[in-house]
């Protein structure tokens, strides 16, 4: 798998992983804040679920920019390792959670044989990451002990969050980055270049 990647693509993946590792850590606080804010309404369990999609975003951004097999998975794992290096309290177990989420995001790209990177595939990728990570948390965090209606409701919220915060926001950020021209050496930048040329001709 790593044979197909160029060194600069791997370093890019690492940089994205590191940057989003920090953002992921910061969003634990955001999630906690939302959770406290929702307590009076009895909706505390949804605190983290609303923003859960943000934890898949690096998979979508990295895969959308580099467009190679394994990128979504690896970028997410790197973000997880960064969080551990920075001293997250979730511990090395977080690398496992990251691997599960990355595998979920990778699944969608694998289904298109890593050829299709339209918005709908990115959204689908965010949703599949949400679904797979939800199954993992049922087990790992002990959510399975909760009542069925709550499990279903949190699942729906997480899938929507994955579609919007990971899929749509991830594509938007990548497109904005491509516009600055720094991605000229990568698949997304090249595609943009090609589109411009055919548009001008």
């Amino acid at each position: 798998m790593t044979k197909q990647w160029k060194l600069k693509e791997i370093v890019l993946m690492s940089i994205l992983g590191v940057v989003f590792g920090i953002i992921y850590l910061a969003f634990f606080l955001v999630g906690q804040g939302i959770q406290y804010a929702l307590v009076p309404f009895g909706l505390a369990p949804f605190g983290y679920e609303i923003i859960f999609g943000i934890w898949f975003i690096v998979s979508i951004i990295a895969a959308y920019i580099l467009r190679k097999p394994g990128v979504a998975f690896t970028a997410e794992v790197i973000a997880g390792i960064t969080e551990v290096l920075l001293g997250t309290t979730a511990g090395p177990g977080l690398i496992l959670s990251a691997a599960v989420q990355g595998a979920g995001a990778e699944l969608a790209f694998a289904m298109t044989k890593w050829k299709d990177y339209r918005l709908r595939v990115l959204i689908f990728s965010g949703m599949s990451a949400a679904l797979i990570s939800f199954a993992w948390h049922l087990f790992y965090a002990g959510n399975i002990a909760l009542t069925p209606w709550l499990i279903v409701a949190t699942l729906v919220v997480r899938v929507i969050s994955g579609a919007l915060l990971a899929g749509v926001l991830g594509k938007w950020i990548s497109d904005q980055l491509a516009k600055t021209g720094v991605l000229r050496g990568y698949a997304l930048g090249k595609e943009l270049q090609k589109r411009r040329e055919t548009g001008a001709a």
């Binding site: 790593t2 590191v18 390792i81 090395p92 965090a141």
Partner: protein, 259 residues
Amino acid sequence: MISSINPSIKAIAVLIPGILLSFTFDVFTPLSYFVFILIVTFTIGGISILKWLKIFSPFVFVALSFGWMAILYTNQSFSNGEVIVTLWSLEITSGSMLTGISLALRSLCFVALSLLFALTTDSTKFMLSLMQQCKVPPVITYGILAGYRFLPLFQQELQILRQAHHIRGVGRTKGLKGKLNQFRRYAIPLLANGIRKAERVAIAMESKGFTGDTDRTHYHQMTIEKKDWIFFSFIVGIFFLIVALSYSLGYLNIFGKQF
């Protein structure tokens, strides 16, 4: 001292009890393991109590709120037993109470285990050990280390961006659209600069002869010694001992099934 244990072995030793704890839903098992980790942390861990408390104490609230949530919304197979309290229309049974306490204790165990790892591990050594013991490709580990090194630079860059905006009179904006615009004004240049740096670092690495070949020598040789295995069997072994004890006392509960 735990800081001299091989980081990969330490990570796995912390991981296994963490995963296995996810099966238990009784109070005794996580509680006794939590006490055990505390003892390890403050004796052979060599971590100062004050420093540990500073990081740990916020998570007591997190664990409490998670446990409270689990008490309120336990599913049928866990909420057996007598009704203890009735809150508005909610009935809290002894079963759901115990499940909630168990889940809270479990998350405290996770936090204590991770602190045991995080506070005694050097991040560079952890990466080197991942490369040498777990066979993670050198391109990835050195890539991560390079990215990790950029963290302080990002901070500096954010400050420069802020000053640049300030000097040009771009102030705070109001409203949702303004906020979104402001987010874009900071996030995109930061990321773009990061990507430029990534490209330069990659070129520098390659020009200095870094091929990413797994067949290479290391300046810092990470090894696994006898004491690493002793530590590993100690942390994992005590967990199984506690499970056995809790089984023989009749406390053990796995996924709502009492043994």
